[in-house]
Amino acid sequence: MIAESIRLSRRRFLLMALASLTAACSDTDHSASVGKAGNTGAEPVWLAHIIGDPEACARLGRAYLAAHPEYYRGDTLVADIQQALAKHDESAVFTRDPQRTVTALQLLVREEYIRGEVEAVTGWTLSITEARLYALAALR
């Protein structure tokens, strides 16, 4: 469900997103899917389900971070990923089902290619959310 009409303030959105993260993490086997993401304290539970090989993702992610040092703060990175996701499918941000979030992220990434919302990372044309996901992997 695309929620373009919803106007959340950035501050309110961040609070909601972080709250949902905490909720999701608390329902999950921490040893399996919760790690340390930069200085967020905890990584989103869906991250492990959406990224491929962690090392390969991290190599791409580090290149993205080099061009976007503001994202060395993982919480900002997570918030921006979730904000983009909320515009595409708000409920996917707040669900406790990581697979649902993953599916929504996959669709979001495809939509970003359709809309031309891309960035070059080491020459690869990547959707912005996809590049941020790799950056998040680099912060683990």
């Binding site: 491929g52 390969a56 290619y113």
Partner: protein, 510 residues
């Protein structure tokens, strides 16, 4: 009947109703279209039935622009350049015929629809299946594989057909030999199209052989069909009456030379799972004995919206990455492709698992060919150097513009977005400096534009019927009459145009 001009007595004059200068794709197509009727046709071919390096060397020329071989990109013997043709066939796109305000000197004197009736018989001549050039549903039914429709609105799928390829000389030689109204004169070089005193008509053709004989051909009508470079050269050489060259009152002959800049090695695509990449996207698929493959072509609405030139991209498997190995390790490009496949696996395959568990994905090479905007400074003229017949050689100054380059990059970006949007793959550009072309640009042996068609004599050499402006009995056949090039390979269109010209000439002879 085939005659070797070297065996005719010196100063022989042959007479015909129609003299066709050049026995290549256009010349043979035109002669065949007139075979069996009352019109006496004489086809005058510089070469013989086989390749001869001495004849081929008449094609040597001077090059002052982008590095370009004037000998390797064409063939001078019966059958012409079809003797080394790759066989790619696709009609031009409707937008290619339009006057586009962002493309200088664009616009044909007629619309795409005018050529449509001629594409089908042209397809038969080049031995390809008729139609279905943009019909995904047909190819889906024929191949049994789902064919995804482009998602971005930027690209569309075109289905390139492949001719065997037809070598016109060997394919149609016997047919012409059997036609009572056709004489093919071999080893005969037209050195001058001799005009009447006022330059308004052609009186005869002066012919010289490499063994030193001089002959002539007189006809009611003449068609110049020697290829996109030589057509301009022959007109410029024919300057005994009109000093600037026949048909060149307005300094148009030889200008607007266009190629299809061909590029490769400028981008990599990795695809995660071949299930998402139909075979016809990546290789030739044969249906009922006729091979075809997808070409990615900009959507016409997108070209209008973004004011771009046309382009064609095709992809093919360049390598396969096996799961669990480090193939290519040490090669940074291979490592980059492998990393991308590993990183994006959940975007490029269902549940992050490839259908073949032993395969991580494939590396696709990308080839591109693009339209260049007509440019009067990109041109053919005469050199000070002389050939074995003591005629000035051709001087070629092929030029590209910033518009050509920027358009290519914009279209390339569409390809990257489309593969991402379809969840098929990721593309990496290896271009380091967008202010330059990605590599030394090559041509596709497509010579176009040098005797361009226009209703306005100040903007072109021939009119909508391919008749030279102000010369009542001289026509030009071949891709030299294309006012714009599109991005499709030109052979199918030049055959269609020649069939259209044949119909026009039949009317003249009635």
């Amino acid at each position: 009947m085939f005659t070797d001009a070297r065996n005719l007595p010196d100063h022989t004059t042959l007479e015909a109703d129609l003299a066709i200068i050049g026995g290549g794709v256009a010349g043979i197509t035109l002669a065949r279209a007139l075979a069996g009727n009352k019109t006496r046709v004489c086809v005058i071919e510089s070469g013989g039935l086989e390749f001869d390096p001495q004849v081929q060397s008449l094609y040597e020329g001077e090059n002052t622009g982008i590095d370009y071989s004037t000998t390797l990109t064409r063939m001078r013997f019966f059958g012409g350049s079809s003797n080394h043709w790759g066989g790619y066939c696709r009609p031009l796109d409707p937008i290619d015929f339009e006057t586009r305000d962002w493309v200088p000197f664009s616009g044909w004197p007629f619309a795409f629809d005018e050529l449509v009736p001629w594409y089908q018989p042209a397809a038969e001549i080049v031995q390809i299946a008729p139609g279905h050039f943009d019909d995904s549903r047909y190819w889906q039914q024929q191949t049994g594989e789902p064919i995804p429709e482009p998602a971005t609105g930027r690209l569309r799928l075109q289905f390139v057909h492949f001719s065997p390829p037809t070598h016109f000389g060997s394919r149609y030689r016997d047919e012409l030999k059997a036609a009572a109204n056709i004489q093919v004169l071999l080893n005969a070089n037209v050195t001058n199209i001799t005009a009447a005193e006022n330059g308004g008509s052609v009186k005869q053709l002066a012919i010289r052989t490499l063994n030193g004989l001089n002959q002539s051909v007189k006809a009611r009508y003449y068609v110049l069909a020697t290829g996109g470079l030589e057509n301009a050269r022959v007109l410029l050489l024919s300057n005994d009456v009109v000093k600037a060259g026949l048909g060149n009152h307005n300094d148009q002959v030889g200008r607007y030379f266009m190629e299809h800049p061909h590029l490769s090695g400028f981008a990599d695509i990795v695809a995660g799972d071949l299930v998402r990449l139909p075979k016809i996207f990546r290789e030739r698929v044969t249906v009922e004995g006729r091979p075809a493959q997808v070409a990615f072509n900009p959507a016409q609405a997108f070209l209008r919206e973004q004011q771009l030139l046309n382009a064609t991209f095709m992809v093919g498997v360049a390598g396969i990455y096996q799961a669990g190995t480090l193939a290519g390790s040490g090669d940074s490009n291979a490592q980059a492709r492998r990393d991308m496949l590993l990183a994006a696996r959940r975007f490029l395959s269902d549940e992050g698992k490839t259908t073949d568990p032993n395969t991580l994905g494939v590396w696709l090479g990308v080839g591109g060919s693009c339209e260049q905007a007509p440019n009067p400074d990109s041109r053919v003229s005469l050199s000070d150097q002389r050939d074995a017949l003591e005629l000035p050689r051709l001087k070629l100054d092929w030029r590209l513009t910033e518009q050509d380059r920027l358009s290519f990059y914009a279209n390339l970006r569409s390809l990257a977005l489309e593969f991402g949007a379809l969840g098929i793959g990721r593309m990496r550009e290896t271009v380091t400096d967008p202010r330059d072309w990605p590599q030394p640009v090559a041509g596709g042996s497509h010579h176009m534009g040098t005797t361009r068609m226009s209703n306005d004599p100040s903007r072109g050499v021939v009119d909508r019927n391919c008749k030279v402006h102000d010369v009542e009995n001289l026509y030009v056949a071949g891709s030299s009459v294309f006012p714009t090039s599109g991005s499709a390979n030109p052979t199918l269109t030049l055959v269609a145009l020649t069939l259209r010209l044949a119909e026009h000439l039949k009317d003249r002879f009635r």
